[in-house]
């Protein structure tokens, strides 16, 4: 009996446990948003569309491919130990980049993800019932057009799809241009004029349309020997610039560097920008990238330094030097702003922590700053911070001064830690504990000065109206009048306008596009002698080509790669 009971017990156990599972996967740690109001849901769908922007505007993404490929920035293998990175920065500058370049791939990945998020938003927002929805849909669609404009500019193509599950249609040339244009035009009426600069406003789309038309000739036929800029395009540029200027929503900033300060979100010159917040999405890479590893800009953070990244080429520097000779280019307040008086008054070697600010603009020669020993900053007897000439201590070169030279190139001497004039345009975020994180400044995408200079260019290109162009350029120059403004120019030409764009927008990630439009990209400058026109358009990353290999003929590599 007992045996039978036990046997029964086990058989029972058997059948109990035999009961099958359906093997449905249970998800425990991933949220599906629920219980949200329509407004919250709409916010939650729109925010991710913009949220890719800080990563697009990284030093190792869009910045690298828009600036290091040009005469504005060069990044050698520093001292043979830093920024070697498998040669990716050298190949960008020499125009020998290939489809495996990590900077190109990084940019591609985030921009395309932005497009995909926009498609998701365009599809999901209409089901929500909130007054903001129409504007949001327009913003999402407008952002898809903006991201597409980036792929058109960088890779010569756009991906068109409305249904996330479908396979995108790939357009190039005129079709691609038209697609971006039509998308912007379609959303423009629904956009809110007052949501900028962090979001896509009416003004932002006007600015982007002006930029699109200005580059229309390039986008339609990127490999042309010369670009013929159609009058209609130029009329459109002027039309949209006029709209912005006439809207009176934006003002040129009197203080040039305040456009790039931590608090620039309220600067009226900004039309469209990446809204960075230290406690959410901000990075300080644009401010830290070029500084020396022995420059410590923040008394509060002895771990926050630079990295001896890129400097400007001597060719670019010479455009400044020659423009202002015999005066020093620092007569232009856009070139340089001294914040530490020790540079002009060597006796002032003790600085109160609260008022310590490093200099801005293009940094040349011996640098001064906080002196770090054994992980702490030296102090004066009165408790203030000691400031003095800097040396490459962190590079194990304590006798090599942080003395930035005009020369910077890929030779051994030109690659040393101290070579090249550096750029500190964005303020080094006061919250950046590591120097890399917690950026605060909005990163400019479109600002009013660009509108003036685009209008000037369009006028020149359309009808050679140098007088109007000169007026626009000088309006911008004269506006920087917190200190002595740069002197007014007396004549105007495309070459002078190109030079002026360099002065006004250096390191603002416009240079490659400008160089191509002005026919300068195949020129030669420091370490760059490749004249291959195919390099105007970047290669599609090899990873994407490989990924698409199962659909023959779908994603075709750009010519020359």
């Amino acid at each position: 009996m007992k045996k039978k009971l036990i046997a029964l017990f086990f058989l029972n156990f058997l059948f109990l446990t035999w009961s099958c599972t359906d093997l449905d996967e249970e998800i425990l740690d991933e949220t599906n948003a629920s219980g949200l109001t329509d407004k919250q849901a709409a916010d939650g769908i729109l925010a991710p569309v913009y949220a890719r922007l800080p990563d697009v505007f990284l030093h190792t993404a869009y910045f690298a491919i828009q600036e290091i490929t040009t005469d504005e920035a060069i990044l050698p293998y520093r001292g043979g130990t830093d920024w070697g990175d498998n040669g990716i920065y050298i190949e960008l500058h020499k125009h020998t980049y290939t489809s495996t370049n990590a900077n190109v791939r990084n940019t591609w990945n985030v921009v395309l993800q932005g497009i995909s998020r926009a498609i998701t938003a365009i599809n999901s927002l209409p089901s929500l019932n909130d007054p903001s929805v129409n504007t949001y849909i327009a913003e999402a669609r407008g952002m898809r057009a903006y991201y597409s404009m980036l792929t058109l500019d960088l890779f010569g193509l756009v991906f068109v799809k409305d249904d996330l599950g479908a396979t995108s249609k790939i357009l190039r040339g005129t079709e691609a241009f038209n697609y971006v244009r039509d998308e912007f035009l379609a959303v423009e009426p629904q956009l809110d004029p007052s949501v900028g600069p962090g979001r896509l406003s009416k003004g932002a789309v006007w600015g982007l349309l002006a930029r699109l038309y200005l580059n229309g000739a390039v986008y339609r036929a990127p490999y042309s020997a010369t670009f013929a800029f159609p009058q209609e395009d130029m009329d459109k540029v002027i039309e949209y610039c006029d709209k912005i200027i006439g809207s009176n929503l934006y003002t040129l900033s009197r203080d040039y560097f305040s456009i790039f300060n931590d608090e620039n979100h309220t600067n009226k010159e900004l039309i469209f920008a990446v809204d960075q917040r230290a406690d959410l999405n901000g990075h300080n890479r644009l401010a830290y990238f070029s500084l020396s590893g022995d420059q410590f800009p923040l008394p509060a953070f002895p771990a926050a330094n630079g990295t001896d990244g890129p400097g400007i080429t001597s060719d670019f520097y010479q455009t400044w030097a020659q423009a202002y000779a015999p005066a020093d280019p620092s007569v232009d307040p856009r070139f340089y702003q001294q914040n530490l008086s020790i540079y002009s008054n060597p006796a002032d070697s003790c600085v109160d922590g609260a008022s310590f600010r490093i200099n801005r603009g293009i940094l040349r020669g011996q640098q001064y700053g906080l002196i770090r020993r054994n992980g702490v900053f030296l102090k004066c007897a009165d408790g203030k911070f000691k400031v003095g000439p800097l040396f490459h201590d962190t590079r194990n070169k304590p006798t090599l001064a942080v003395d930035f030279t005009e020369r910077i190139d890929f030779t051994v001497e030109g690659s040393n830690y101290n070579t090249g004039y550096r750029v500190e345009k964005y303020e080094f975020s006061k919250k950046s504990a590591s120097g890399r994180n917690f950026g605060e400044a909005d990163i400019v995408i479109v600002r009013l000065a660009d509108i003036y200079l685009m209008r000037a260019e369009a006028k020149l290109r359309k009808s050679g109206d140098a007088a109007s162009a000169l007026a626009d350029v000088n309006t911008v120059r004269a506006s920087r009048n917190l200190t002595t403004p740069p002197p007014a120019l007396t004549s105007m030409s495309l070459d002078l306008l190109y030079r002026e764009r360099g002065f006004e927008f250096y390191w603002e990630m416009l240079r490659r596009t400008d160089m191509i439009r002005f026919g300068k990209y195949e020129g030669t400058w420091t370490e760059k002698d490749n004249t291959d026109k195919n390099k105007r358009v970047f290669p599609i990353p090899q990873t994407a080509i490989d990924g698409a290999s199962n659909i023959p003929g779908y994603l075709v590599q750009n010519p020359g790669y």
Binding site: L23, I27, D43, G44, Y50, Y77, S116, V412, G547
Partner: protein
């Protein structure tokens, strides 16, 4: 090295298993007695007389010397003397003497009132009668048709052992065990017959006493299998080919390792204590310049010599002579209805780097009880382990030590670590940073088995494997160098439940035997992890880990808690039939249907069949004249799967959270919206990787089994390779999607040879010699990808370079690099311009060999003479390369010219410019072949009879083991056996050495005592 030898008590534990010791056990078995503890003689049956006799070898008639002759139950026993004679008091005329001599067939001899019993013993053909655990059952070696290797405890590697993989290293052909580094308890990467995929998840399935483990990390940086006390392990069976592993279906593709722990034996009661103490030192320090050399070399390369006058060996400063001690107490025994094994173990291991420590406390109880006239048989196994791991900041410590100026003093006049301006003294870092993990793991299972009819048995197996871990990563606040202090705490919880039901049907007839298994298995695995952190601790004596509340800063950007939780379910139906005809024709067929919650909606279940045959030719008449005791041909084919893929990849993911990459300010003020983003693409078609394996093998035994071996040819082709790939249309919410790559295959094929020779000579001398060799080739085919990169380089200036790259026609683990071809006239590096376009780009990378060895070999041997025994174990690999990322980022001329210390490698090229940079290239790709004398052991069996303590101590053995004594290699890093994990998106890296924890050389003194 052998300056101090520690003598510690260490009991004989593995008497039965020692092949070389030659201990003869004489058991007295008393029929009718139920309980062993009742086997003490009672007053009434005292009728003692002396039985004498001689034990000799049946073939040579030589006396068998040093045999322990024991009266079991009473604890009485003797050892045969140099003439093989014994003399023992017997108290029961019905007693049965059981002669049990390792390497010889056991003999049971009833006393029947005799006073002289001479015994001749034959060497057992033990290989054939050896029982092999095969998953849901066991079989004798001679009936096996699959490629299986069984290792008993005596054959295990000796030394300081943390995990079962180390016991196996080199012992099984086709099995490659590589420790990631020399850190105590470090991750061991183990592959059986090569990696079948490009991702992680090529680890075999481990099954402990019938419970399939999950290979997930249990927390910290150590191997999750460290929880098993090696001293509790009775045997390890490695299932290699598909015909053996198909019973584990979707988890069999990487091979299966079955671990069986020790059990008690009816009629015995053994108390065993073993203790050992070992001393370890850094085996091969890097030869960086000494202070004197540095003073000469730095100015020579144009550097500015900063000479503070000291002579510091920084590697010595950060390392130490480390002590490991191990104590084990086990008791085992039982009667015919109940047997038990219980043990407590403690291992406290110091790492050779200062402050590096691994402590393990284990407890185990294994019980077997029979009920209902032995119809019901119940096994209960319970293991509990506590592991404590203290890790110093290893990379910073080693990186600091090999580059620090040797003329700097290590300490200042006050005895504090010397502060130098350039860089940080690694000893300061050592004091400020720590990483401590405590893991508790309990594994238990209960498996009743009921004999329903004579031929039919039902078995239930219910197991639970539960672990929790807490890891604290702590930085102390400090003034100089200034840092704020931080505490990060990570908690991990793993739960693994298994329930299995199966029936076994056995039919034994004169001409044939049949055995069949059919069953069902259900397993549920739950994994959870959580991490929190807090910043800005004040400078104080209180460590943040003891009072996290002292932290002053908690921000969402800096201290956002993170976590994950995953549930996986597996459900399987399995069946196996073994058929044996005339003891010479063998057939095995297996099928398992596996379902996993990880698989897509359209592919929930997979079916994994296998079929194999064996032919024992030695049983055929035409083989009679040949000297083979065994000659078995085997052939098998089967399919197995690999379901070790991330969870949830078949499901889409919408997350809604405030994070840098998903949220964005939509207003000037106020909280940020939780961004709802679609971050993973669903792929409902996802399924397991399938590996199809063919194995042809030959098992042979010669000279009555003295020479035994096996040869296996295998071909394992893995398809439906799982990869995280970029979709054709790049406009996707997530950049990648998991998929089974169509047509892509990874093939492992090779030849394994295993040989073992044993010989007993006259005068108590016996020896053995054995070894194995594996020739293996791995090949990737039909990959649609130009290159699948892995192995991201480390070190300044090397970011974004990759070291490994898997391309068609080359193996996994391939190094895909620019080829260094010497220096130009300016002393700068030149690289081969493969595509001849005049510039060196990524397109000039070529496949330059693989980290996977082409040959692996092991040689072991030993002898015993009277009470002495000796064994040695050599193992090695060849045909592989190692990428010396440490040298790449540290040892080049430019650094030396900056006063950073290097090895002589930096000045090997006199022509080299001091400004030459060192990008990732074949220049730092080095030959990884090596031969290691990894074990040398000398033991002595103390005659307790002569000491007069026989009554108290039945066996006493002392031994000295040397571990990692010699290493022959061209590699000039710490050790060529290294594998720093530098995976990219889950694609495994292989053979990269970057600031790896150096390996130790150890001497261990042990003393074993058995009551």
């Amino acid at each position: 090295m052998m300056k101090i030898l520690f003598l510690n008590l260490h009991f004989i534990k593995y008497i039965k298993n020692s092949l070389i010791r030659g201990i003869c056990l004489l058991w007295i078995f008393m029929p009718g007695r139920a309980w062993a503890h009742a086997a003490l003689p009672s007053e009434t049956d005292v009728l003692a007389w002396v039985v004498k006799g001689r034990v000799t070898d049946a073939n040579t008639s030589e006396p068998l010397i040093g045999c322990t002759v024991q009266i079991k139950g009473s604890g009485q026993g003797v050892v045969t003397d140099f003439n093989g004679d014994y003399s023992i008091d017997v108290q029961d005329q019905n007693a049965v003497l059981v002669f049990n001599y390792i390497g010889y067939q056991e003999i049971e001899e009833p006393v029947n009132g005799r006073t002289e019993i001479n015994i001749t013993m034959s060497q057992s053909v033990s290989e054939l009668s050896q029982v092999v655990v095969i998953g849901y059952g066991s079989a004798t070696k001679k009936d096996m048709t699959g490629a299986v290797k069984s290792l008993k405890a005596a054959e295990f590697n000796k030394g300081i052992i943390n995990s079962p993989e180390q016991l196996l290293q080199g012992k099984v052909a086709g099995v490659n065990v590589t420790s990631a580094s020399g850190e105590p308890g470090s991750i061991q990467s183990i592959t059986i017959r090569g990696p079948g995929g490009v991702r992680s998840g090529s680890t075999p399935l481990f099954v402990v006493d019938g419970v399939a483990l999950d290979n997930s990390s249990t927390g910290g940086a150590t191997n999750p299998l460290n929880f098993l006390n090696p001293q509790d392990i009775e045997s390890i069976d490695v299932l290699k080919d598909a015909s053996a592993t198909a019973i584990y279906g979707a988890r069999g593709a990487n091979g299966v390792v079955l671990i069986t722990t020790k059990r008690g034996k009816a009629g015995t009661s053994i108390l065993n204590y073993s203790g050992s103490a070992g001393l370890s030192t850094m085996a091969n320090p890097l030869e960086v310049f000494s202070a004197d050399q540095y003073r000469i070399e730095v100015p020579k390369v144009g550097g500015v010599l900063e000479d503070l006058g000291a002579d510091t060996d920084w590697q010595k400063e950060i390392s130490r002579r480390a002590l490991t001690h191990n104590h084990n107490l086990s008791l085992s025994g039982g009667a015919d209805k109940l047997t038990y094994y219980g043990s407590l173990g403690l291992q406290s291991q110091e790492g050779i780097l200062r402050k590096s420590q691994l402590n393990r406390y284990t407890g185990r109880i294994n019980i077997n009880q029979k009920f209902l006239d032995d119809r019901l048989d119940l096994d209960l196994n319970l293991n509990a382990t506590n592991t404590f791991n203290y890790r110093p900041p290893i990379g910073a410590l080693i990186g600091g030590a090999i580059s620090a100026n040797p003329t700097y003093p290590a300490y200042d006049a006050q005895g504090n670590p010397y502060r130098y301006a350039a860089g940080t003294n690694p000893l300061i870092t050592l004091n400020l940073e720590k990483d401590v993990t405590t893991i508790n793991r309990v594994l238990g299972n209960i498996s009743p088995s009921l004999r329903i009819t004579k031929n039919l048995r039902y078995k239930l197996n219910f197991g639970i494997d539960n672990s929790t871990s807490a890891r604290d990563i702590q930085s102390l606040a400090n003034a100089v160098p200034q840092q704020d202090g931080r505490l990060e705490t990570v908690n991990i919880y793993n739960r693994n439940k298994l329930i299995e039901n199966y029936f076994t049907y056995t039919l034994t007839k004169t001409d044939y035997n049949l055995s069949a298994v059919v069953g069902h298995s259900y397993q549920k695995i739950f994994l959870q992890g959580r991490a929190t952190s807090i910043n800005k601790f004040p400078i104080s004596n209180i460590e943040p880990q003891y009072n996290p509340g002292l932290g002053q800063e908690l921000t969402l950007a800096n201290n956002k808690p993170t976590g994950y939780a995953i549930v996986n379910e597996l459900q399987s139906y399995f069946s196996r039939v073994n058929f044996q005809f005339l003891d010479k024709y063998l057939v095995t067929a297996t099928v398992r249907a596996d379902g996993s919650s990880k698989f897509g909606e359209n592919n929930k279940y997979g079916v994994f069949p296998s079929f194999s045959v064996g032919w024992r030719l030695n049983e055929e008449p035409f083989f009679e004249s040949l000297p083979f005791s065994e000659f078995k041909l085997r052939a098998g084919w089967g399919q197995t799967g690999n379901q070790e893929i991330p969870s949830k990849i078949t499901q889409p993911l919408f997350t809604s959270q405030v994070s840098a990459s998903t949220s964005y300010p939509l207003a000037n003020t106020g909280p940020y919206p939780a961004g709802t983003s679609y971050s993973r693409l669903a792929n409902p078609d996802i399924q397991w990787e399938v590996s199809t394996q063919t194995d042809i093998g030959l098992d042979f035994g010669l000279f009555n089994g003295a020479l035994a071996g096996a040869i296996d040819y295998f071909n394992k082709k893995s398809g439906k390779i799982l990869l995280e790939v970029i979709p054709a249309d790049p406009v996707q919410p997530a950049g990648t999607v998991w998929t089974n790559v169509a047509d892509m295959t990874v093939t492992n094929s090779g030849l394994e040879l295993d040989l073992q020779y044993r010989k007993t000579l006259t005068r108590g001398l016996s020896y053995y010699l054995g070894g194995n060799i594996t020739f293996i080739q791995n090949n990737v085919e039909n990959s649609p990808y130009t290159v699948i990169p892995s192995g991201s380089a480390s070190g300044s200036g090397l970011t974004s370079a990759t070291i490994n790259g898997y391309v068609n026609g080359n193996p996994i683990g391939t190094f895909f690099l620019k080829e260094y071809i010497g220096l130009d006239d300016k002393g700068l590096s030149r690289f081969r311009d493969v595509d001849q376009d005049g510039i060196i780009t990524d397109k000039d990378r070529v496949a330059l060999g693989s980290a996977l060895p082409k040959q692996m070999f092991n040689l072991n041997g030993g002898f015993s003479w009277k009470a002495f025994d000796f064994s040695a174990n050599l193992n090695g690999v060849s045909g592989n390369k190692v990428y010396d990322n440490t040298a790449n980022s540290n040892f080049y001329k430019l650094r030396l010219s900056k006063g950073i210390n290097t090895t002589a490698e930096a000045i090997a090229e006199p022509k080299e410019s001091i400004n030459n940079s060192a990008p990732v290239s074949s220049r730092y790709l080095k030959d990884g072949s090596f031969v290691r004398l990894n074990n040398l052991s000398l033991g002595y069996q103390i005659n307790t009879e002569k000491l007069g303590i026989r009554k108290w101590v039945s066996a006493l053995r002392v031994s000295l083991t040397g571990e990692n004594l010699l290493l022959w290699t061209k590699y000039d890093g710490y050790d060529p056996e290294v594998n720093t994990d530098r995976n990219i998106n889950g694609v495994n890296s292989y053979g990269i050495d970057y600031l790896s924890y150096p390996k130790a050389k150890s001497f261990i003194f042990s003393l074993n005592l058995t009551l």
